[in-house]
């Protein structure tokens, strides 16, 4: 009932907008109440989930009564494409990007904080911690679209074969290591743990459970936390041991092994479930075990952004689309809900999380079981502008030096600190 009235309200606002448009666009003589408009929508949703996005956008184009056509371009080279277009002063009216990526396009995204007043979407329905990711002071640059968290996935058959309870996941990281050792069976080419030395996103989710964030704010300055970080040290020692013991493979891509039933446990995002289902693997999902660093709900937020090149009319149309994405239809479902149930990404609004079909999905029940008030920062304080550089230039080399060069863990951490200090210094100026 609540969202229905929002919808009506949204319609009214859109109508008002269209009327304003009508008055401002003096050049178009044939304007009707619903000024036809085409907006370009760029994103990087290649792969299977892109199929569904295409379907949903098609549905919007067919059903919306405002004459809006969303022309979507899913691109394997999204970043290159967007970068060049923006450099030339052109580009799409709507994009999907992650909060980490946003900083690279600083100055190219419009403040969209007025979307709530313009469309009547209920701001208080959005889970605040996710919304925080999209904010910069009072300005908001992204509207949440997908919450990307990492979870523990395990192969139930391998658990049974190793004499473990197939329905019980490890609850501590010590237990994880213990289970991994039990699951490993070299004769069958089975590894207990599937962490990739070259997958900083995955490693970051794990290592921060041990030793908390790598960049934090102290006295108004950014500070890197590698040297002497006991939690990090413990993780690196554990990881190295698992590799040396043949419990975790030296492999940059363990997903195919998981699909082939050769990995006992791995840390991944909900997208892996598609592949596991196709491969008929019986798997369990749980939140990542809590480590010494305490309760966490580390995520990245992908959101809708409106580049500065979009005109006011295009921005309004983009708002309509975002509103539609979050609105319930007559059947009590919404694109946001469908997206969540199909892909397993937790919803970012309370109303979607409360829906029956959401609640009845075991996958979603687990992926959204994290305490939403727990810190959502991913690897760095969420206000630190450069997550990418900490992942790729500090964490990835750190782990690989230990795996491949047998560098002493403490030394490697000290060296990582030096690099991180350099990065942080740039943002402290």
């Amino acid at each position: 009932m609540k969202s229905l009235s929002h919808r009506t309200f949204g319609r009214a606002i859109a109508f008002a907008l269209a009327m304003t448009l009508l008055l401002t666009c003096l050049s178009s003589a044939y304007a009707t109440t619903a000024e036809p408009i085409t907006i370009k929508f760029w994103n990087s949703f290649t792969g299977a989930d892109g199929d569904q996005l295409v379907e949903l956008v098609d549905r919007f184009n067919q059903t919306n009564t405002d004459g809006i056509k969303v022309e979507m371009d899913i691109s394997a080279n999204f970043a290159d494409q967007l970068t060049s277009a923006l450099a030339a002063g052109t580009g799409p009216a709507l994009v999907l990007m992650s909060n980490a990526m946003r900083y690279q396009y600083d100055g190219y995204l419009q403040d969209v904080s007025d979307i709530f007043t313009q469309t009547g979407m209920d701001k208080s329905d959005f889970i605040q911690s996710y919304l925080d990711y999209c904010m910069d002071g009072s300005a908001m640059y992204l509207v949440p679209f997908q919450i990307v968290g990492y979870y523990l996935f395990w192969n139930k058959d391998l658990f049974t074969a190793a004499g473990l309870d197939p329905d019980v996941a490890p609850t501590t990281w010590d237990e994880y290591a213990e289970f991994a050792a039990k699951l490993t069976d070299a004769t069958k080419n089975v590894y207990g743990s599937g962490l990739c030395y070259n997958y900083p996103y995955q490693l970051a989710h794990v290592i921060q459970r041990f030793g908390d964030l790598s960049v934090t704010a102290a006295d108004g300055k950014w500070q890197a936390n590698f040297a002497g970080n006991e939690g990090y040290e413990k993780f690196l020692v554990t990881f190295k041991k698992m590799i040396d013991d043949g419990v975790n493979p030296v492999e940059a891509d363990t997903d195919p092994m998981m699909m082939a039933g050769q990995i006992g446990m791995t840390v991944s995002g909900p997208w892996i479930t598609g592949g596991l289902d196709t491969a008929d693997i019986k798997y369990g999902i749980s939140l990542l075990p809590e480590g010494e660093a305490g309760d966490m709900n580390s995520v990245e937020v992908l959101g809708f952004g409106v580049p500065t090149v979009a005109t006011d009319a295009e921005k309004a149309a983009a708002y309509r689309f975002i509103q539609w994405w979050n609105s319930e239809d007559a059947n009590g479902t919404s694109p946001a809900l469908e997206w969540a149930t199909n892909n397993g990404f937790p919803a970012y609004t309370y109303s979607v999380q409360a829906m029956d079909s959401y609640q009845s999905s075991e996958k979603l029940r687990i992926t959204s079981s994290a305490d939403p008030s727990a810190p959502t920062d991913f690897f760095v304080d969420s206000r630190f502008p450069d997550t990418g550089i900490m992942l790729f230039d500090v964490l990835a080399p750190l782990v690989q030096r230990i795996v491949f060069d047998n560098t002493d863990v403490a030394t490697a951490l000290t060296d990582a600190q030096t690099i991180a200090d350099g990065v942080v210094a740039r943002y402290n100026q």
Binding site: Y108, N198, V250
Partner: protein
């Protein structure tokens, strides 16, 4: 008529008409290649974001930074190793293989078609294909090797051997181009030269060294110089297989430049400076080769 004739005679002076011959290409290259090249030179002495909205002059800072950046120096070393593995095979190996497939019989045609196959596959597909078949655990080739008693070889994740595997993949992918270019060059050698050599009693091997090799010398220089420039810019095959890993052992200069500019940091100025270093290096070697080539006539 008169005018047409004088126009023709004007054009008939090779020295003048030459400019008409090269003008279209020079014009296009100036607009679409040299201009961006100059821009990139400009960026190399600037602090610039990827969208080029903030640009400030920083002098040679980017260059001094490059030469104290261990990862850049490592990438130069990796690039050099790639080139040393690839260029000789492409320039000399492909020449021999090409010469063996010159005749247009069915078997040679089939061989050439097979060697050409990897050339027509997109890099993306080649990447996922090889990553899958050489996968340390579920790859079919890894599996086959272990069945043959070689044990489990970790092709793609070894700090010692992965660079050789990636070189192999790079050669695997483009060897066909070089070989077929040699085939076409050798096919244009006048048969009378072979006949003369035959009369002198030269066997196949001597014919190769005394007729084929001298006749396709200009093609050899072409292959050598383009392969050299190409292998120093190796990117695609690394990007789609190892991404530069493990532990940066396969991170070439362009791979590093790309990640500096686009993956993290968005540092276009620094990325351009590193490319300029590479550019100067390739240009110097090319000029040396070019002079050698011109002297040989």
């Amino acid at each position: 008529m008169m005018q047409r004739k004088s126009m023709l005679s004007y054009l008939n002076k090779p020295s003048r008409s030459a400019y008409f011959f090269v003008a279209p290409s020079i014009l296009l290259l100036l607009v679409f290649n040299i201009t961006p090249l100059l821009a990139s030179f400009g960026l190399s002495v600037s602090d610039a974001s990827i969208t080029l909205n903030q640009i400030s002059f920083v002098g040679l800072d980017n260059f001094t930074r490059a030469f104290s950046d261990a990862r850049f120096l490592n990438s130069l070393r990796v690039t050099l190793v790639f080139s040393l593995l690839e260029v000789p095979l492409q320039a000399f190996g492909a020449m021999v293989i090409g010469a063996l497939m010159v005749k247009n019989n069915l078997w040679n045609k089939a061989l050439r078609a097979v060697f050409f196959l990897p050339v027509i596959c997109s890099a993306t597909v080649i990447g996922i294909m090889w990553r899958m078949i050489l996968h340390s655990n579920v790859g079919i080739i890894t599996y086959a090797f272990s069945l043959l008693g070689f044990g489990k070889i970790n092709f793609m994740n070894s700090a010692q051997t992965t660079i050789f595997v990636v070189s192999f993949l790079s050669i695997w992918r483009s060897f066909g181009i070089s070989a077929i270019i040699y085939v076409t060059a050798a096919q244009q050698v006048s048969p009378s030269l072979y006949e003369a050599a035959e009369l002198d009693g030269a066997g196949a091997v001597r014919q190769f060294f005394h007729v084929t090799v001298p006749s396709i010398r200009s093609t050899f220089w072409f292959v050598l110089m383009t392969r050299f420039a190409g292998s120093l810019q190796i990117f695609d095959i690394i990007y789609v297989t190892t991404g530069g890993g493990p532990n940066f052992t396969t991170e070439s200069t362009v791979t590093y430049v790309y990640s500096r500019a686009f993956s993290s940091g968005g540092d276009m100025g620094y990325a351009s400076a590193m490319s300029m270093v590479l550019f100067v290096f390739i240009m110097l070697v090319t000029i040396l080769m070019y002079r050698r080539m011109i002297r040989e006539g």
